[in-house]
């Protein structure tokens, strides 16, 4: 009886194992297991999909062999600080079989709660997301540099007498002598406070009139710069409205003009 039973139980365990393997291999995510020497003890099939490196050539090798050299210090750092009670998250670049780079996100933790090794990890390919982010970043960066280099001050302000700024471009410093940061949200100085006294009322009225009629404004006035000198500027802008027609703010551009 026992002789007959024993092989059956064995095959059941084998079956369970192969089912588990089947499950791991069906995932669209890499599952990994590392031993104390940081060698790969287990990896599922999806690894080959991401990196093009066969599973057989991966098992038993140091995981750092697959990392981009610049990622190795942060990887070593992560392994040094990992403790059984917490999991860690890391982004890095892998070098695929063809030599191309794949951006990956890894979640890694100890398998057991009372000892650091072995470590289990999941890994997903985030290359498309990173590439999209890079494109977004590049277009933002390029626009930002363009705006900040213009010899003019682009702004978005609230519709109040001090014209408190929600956004000011770097050209602010060129025109007013005050840095863009110092004018943001009136932190140190407001545009309203440096408009020439004799012009302030006219500026306010002209802008309000334009806002009423939903039309752009084009006005000239004088500013007192940080060093006390006076400059003439041209301010072209328009209102910012909600769908119901409520004024949310004012956007425009300030340019230096020749002194009258």
């Amino acid at each position: 009886m026992t002789l007959l039973k024993w092989p059956r139980r064995h095959s059941q365990a084998q079956e369970e194992e192969s089912q588990l393997l089947h499950l791991f291999n069906s995932l669209n995510e890499v599952v990994l297991l590392f031993d104390k020497q940081q060698q790969v003890q287990f990896v599922n099939q999806y690894w080959e999909v991401i990196t093009g490196i066969p599973v057989e050539q991966t098992l038993g090798r140091m995981f750092s062999d697959f990392l981009h050299p610049e990622e190795i210090p942060s990887w070593s750092q992560l392994l040094n600080k990992i403790t059984p009670s917490q999991h860690e998250n890391i982004w890095f670049r892998l070098i695929s079989a063809s030599g191309e780079l794949r951006w990956c996100e890894m979640r890694i933790q100890s398998v057991n709660k009372d000892q650091p090794y072995p470590l289990s990890a999941t890994l997903c390919d985030i290359t498309p997301q990173v590439r999209n982010e890079e494109v977004r970043h590049a277009s933002h960066r390029s626009l930002q540099s363009l705006v900040d280099r213009l010899p003019a001050m682009l702004y978005r302000s609230r519709n109040n007498a001090s014209w408190s700024m929600e956004y000011v471009s770097e050209g602010c410093e060129l025109l007013t002598g005050y840095s863009a940061e110092s004018m943001l949200n009136q932190s140190q100085v407001s545009l309203g406070s440096i408009i020439h006294q004799d012009d302030a009322t006219r500026v306010w009225e002209n802008v309000q009139q334009a806002l009423e009629t939903f039309s752009p404004f084009d006005i000239h006035y004088r500013l007192t710069r940080a060093d006390g000198t006076e400059v003439s500027v041209q301010d072209k802008g328009r209102g910012l409205y909600s769908k119901s027609g409520m004024v949310l703010g004012v956007e425009g551009i300030l340019l230096l003009t020749n002194k009258r």
Binding site: H68, P69, E70, P73, L101, R131, E134, H137, A138, R141
Partner: protein, 389 residues
């Protein structure tokens, strides 16, 4: 006064030592002049060539100092945790096992550095580490490896003290000299860059404007015979001006960092702000292995390629790859997905390409500029490091 006193005291001591040795020692110790070894290290032209020789001499001494049963070996380990690099030097006939080197790399560079004075067991060997000194991000260790039974800590200290002092003195002095040399080189380069900027670049800037104006004036029919000359004048002046500016920039960049990787990173940052192109840097160079001259020329070529991408390519993506194809072949690829180059459309500033080639030649590098099959341009620069040494 004090010096003389000290010297004569040492002389007396060693003389005394000689007589004692003659009585008690059966075997002659190999004569090792510690001062000479330290001096050799301190004045080394290339430390990685000199150090093994010195270690060999020390190893002979060690073979005599320790009984054969202990089988002691000396290794000098340079650990740089910030780049995750370990270099080991030894004076042994047979290099230590790869597995041991891997373990030491893990122990000293990847992991937390061990306590300097504790002996430890690694791969069945007893290792007695001693932290010699630190320089920048580098920690220099001396390791005594024992294949058999290790001596007691006290005995070890007594036997190895002068060896460690020699290595400490020699290497410390070498690093000290190196950083002094580097500083001197930097200030010299800074001076030349400033000179160039204030003198030649200003004059060339002026000449450029005037020659362009002259060229424009000569477009009238009555001066048509002058046209080829003024055209040449304008484009050569433009080229000289452009080159001078780049020379100043690249010498400033290499000065800031004194290594190619950092120079490339800084250049990419700079060009990123001038365009909406997505720049991708894939830097697989382990450490800077180029002379300042090589770095500067390579950086010039990279910058020229990047500026061509920004100015002419209409690309949306550009990629810069720095890698070591083999241990002695450095390669740089710069590619973009733009319109590519038309070799026949000789623009006035296609001088740029010519200068890139000349600069590559100067350091023995090969440069190829081609259109990519999938569109855009690809610049391949390769430098054989061994051929240049």
């Amino acid at each position: 006064m004090l010096n003389i006193k000290l010297k004569s005291w040492i002389d007396g001591q060693s003389w005394f030592g000689e007589t004692v040795r003659a009585v008690t020692k059966k075997k002659e110790l190999p004569s090792v002049d510690f001062n000479d070894l330290a001096f050799k290290l301190a004045t080394a032209e290339n430390i990685s060539e000199t150090l093994p020789g010195v270690l060999k001499s020390l190893q002979w001494l060690i073979n005599d100092l320790f009984p054969p049963a202990q089988h002691a070996e000396l290794i000098i380990l340079f650990s740089n945790p910030s780049t995750s690099e370990t270099f080991m030097h030894h004076g042994l006939d047979k290099a230590p096992a790869a597995k041991l080197m891997q373990s030491l790399h893990h122990l000293f560079t990847v992991g937390k550095a061990p306590d300097a004075s504790e002996m430890m067991v690694v791969d069945d060997l007893t290792i007695a580490p001693s932290r010699l000194f630190e320089h920048d991000n580098l920690t220099v260790w001396s390791l005594f490896l024992f294949h058999g039974a290790a001596p007691s800590a006290k005995q070890l200290k007594w036997k190895t003290a002068s060896i460690e002092t020699t290595l400490y003195k020699g290497l410390q002095a070498w690093y000290h000299n190196e950083s002094k040399l580097k500083k001197a080189l930097e200030s010299e380069r800074a001076m030349y860059a400033a000179e160039l900027h204030d003198s030649l670049a200003q004059v060339l800037g002026y000449l450029r404007l005037k020659s362009l104006k002259l060229d424009k004036l000569c477009q009238q029919a009555e001066f048509s015979s002058l046209k080829p000359i003024t055209e040449d004048l304008a484009s050569y002046t433009q080229c000289a001006y452009h080159q001078t500016r780049e020379l100043i920039t690249s010498s400033r960049l290499t000065m800031q960092s004194d290594n190619l990787s950092q120079g490339v990173i800084n250049s990419i940052k700079e060009f990123e702000h001038q365009s909406a192109i997505v720049f991708e840097l894939d830097n697989r160079l382990p450490l800077n292995m180029l002379s300042p001259q090589q770095s500067m020329q390579m950086l010039y070529i990279v910058r020229e390629s990047l500026s061509n991408i920004v100015r002419h390519s209409h690309a949306t993506h550009a990629r810069v790859v720095l890698l070591l194809k083999t241990s002695s072949l450095l390669q740089i690829h710069i590619e973009d997905n733009g319109t590519g180059i038309n070799p026949e459309a000789a623009r006035s500033d296609s001088f740029g390409l010519q200068i890139m080639k000349e600069r590559a030649d100067r350091i023995g590098a090969t440069l190829m500029i081609n259109n990519r099959p999938e569109g855009g341009t690809r610049v391949d620069l390769s430098l054989n490091l061994e051929a240049n040494e």
